[in-house]
């Protein structure tokens, strides 16, 4: 399966690139990433617990960064498997400076197999798009903080919004 897309981030290209190759930042940005450890230069091992709706699964795998050309290009090679199926593939990320930010364009070729591919085939592409959007939204928040500052709390806005809407609702009901 081919995946393509682009996301505009409100941060300078050098900063975005640094975030993309920083395992701590990646762990916070990858939806459901519970563990990300460096095992060799540019090679990582990860555990990701993720899903959409009621469909959830745990995946274990490795990720390798290749073809690093700071600050414009990198290539990510992944190989993972879990109870719902397996995933294997690679993607190229290109970073371009835009007015006031960075445009990240990605093209990936991914093979998905196992249960998830045989019964969830029609939803795989949608799931991938949704996760890419979540990843880049978190990455944009990370890239906006200066180096050395505490990282942003990704769940914060959603929690605040939920609290606020609940409060408004109570206000109008009483």
């Amino acid at each position: 399966m081919k995946l393509e897309g682009s996301h505009e981030l409100d941060a300078p290209r050098e900063r975005v690139y640094q975030c993309l190759v920083n395992p701590e930042v990646l762990q916070r940005c990858i939806p459901g990433c519970e563990r990300l450890e460096q095992t060799a230069e540019n090679t990582f091992s990860a555990t990701i617990k993720t899903g959409v709706g009621s469909i959830k699964g745990v995946f274990n795998g490795t990720a390798r960064l290749e073809d690093l050309r700071e600050p414009e290009h990198l290539r990510l090679v992944v190989d993972g498997k879990g109870a719902p199926g397996f995933l294997k593939g690679s993607g190229d990320l290109d970073l371009a400076s835009t007015e006031g930010g960075t445009k990240v364009t990605y093209t990936a070729d991914v093979q998905v197999g196992g249960t998830i591919a045989s019964v969830g085939q029609r939803m795989i592409q949608g799931t991938a798009k949704m996760m890419a959007a979540q990843f880049f939204t978190s990455l944009a928040a990370e890239a906006k903080t200066a180096v050395g500052e505490p990282p942003p709390q990704h769940g914060f806005f959603r929690t605040a919004l939920r609290w606020f809407s609940g409060w408004v609702r109570r206000l109008f009901r009483s």
Binding site: S54, P84, I116, G120, R122, Q125, G126
Partner: protein, 288 residues
């Protein structure tokens, strides 16, 4: 094909169901017809700790006329909607849509609330309730709230339903004046799910021109959506073939159509245009 272990509770009232659901927000899951959840559990793609079965709450399955609204309880089955004489008279789109879902077994067990809350990208009900501009009543630990169905579908299998909330009722404004409705679907040959499904609700002025159109599209994107651009393009026209053809060209505007082994995104978008046009023509022909 054997699910992981789980607990099962069948509360007698909706309040009990809400309390049970909120007792374990991560592990509890509402079970209605179970025609999406149970297969996912058998494949171990979903492993809830606790199932709260609301299909046994009798007071949640009903079809009623109240004032200028049609009220439908969340656990009303597809078959009950398909066979409702009331709906055949006042809102035939709903029985027509129900009839196109799955097979007899699915329609006997599956519920309208379950289909909407699950938000399958190829589910049939989302298209129909979008075309009818329905309201959804959600109940949670802090009471009830009502959302427009257009704001309810957020993303793939993701809705505005918060953890701890249950969809209780679907409210539809009773169609009045001159109106016509139709549901057109290209079912996937194996699963019966909509490769493309289009629900159309037209209201006409006295001179036969289009007063307003509601168009819900399923199967095409990651979630069902209202084809606003088509609705706008139809309004004020006489709904002839030229007007319909010009309007349906906009059905994929702003949409990134799904692509899978069965249908590429271009083919899906083409199907959506053809079937939106057919649905408009069928709805127009049924205007009384």
């Amino acid at each position: 094909m054997i699910p992981a272990q789980f607990d099962y509770k069948a509360p007698a009232t909706l309040d009990e169901a809400v309390a049970l659901l909120n007792s374990d927000l991560d592990g509890a899951k509402i079970l209605a017809g179970g025609h999406s959840l149970i297969p996912a559990m058998k494949l171990r793609l979903a492993q809830p700790q606790l199932l709260v079965d609301i299909a046994r709450i009798k007071s949640l399955a009903y079809i009623r006329e109240e004032g200028d609204q049609i009220l439908i309880g969340a656990t009303t089955t597809h078959y009950q909607l398909e066979s409702s004489d009331l709906l055949k008279q006042i809102c035939p789109l709903l029985p027509e849509c129900a009839k196109s879902i799955g097979d007899v077994q699915v329609r006997n067990k599956g519920t309208i609330g379950g289909s909407i809350a699950h938000s399958d990208p190829a589910g049939d009900w989302p298209a129909a309730v979008l075309a009818l501009d329905a309201d959804l009543v959600l109940v949670g630990p802090n009471g009830e709230r009502t959302v427009k169905v257009e704001n309810f579908f957020v993303d793939l299998l993701t809705t505005d339903l918060q953890p701890g909330e249950i969809l209780r009722e679907v409210r539809i404004k009773k169609p009045s004046g001159k109106f016509g409705q139709a549901y057109q679907k290209v079912p996937h040959p194996a699963s019966g799910f909509a490769v493309v499904g289009v629900a159309v609700h037209l209201t006409l002025n006295d001179d036969g021109s289009c007063k307003s159109a509601g168009i819900g599209v399923t199967g095409v994107a990651v979630k069902a959506y209202r084809a606003r651009a088509v609705e706008v393009a139809l309004a004020g026209t006489n709904l002839d073939d030229n007007a319909a053809s010009a309007a349906v060209a906009h059905v994929c505007d702003g949409i990134d159509p799904n692509s899978d082994l069965y249908a590429s995104s271009d083919y899906r978008c083409h199907l959506a245009q053809v079937h939106t046009r057919r649905a408009i023509q069928a709805a127009k022909a049924r205007v009384q």
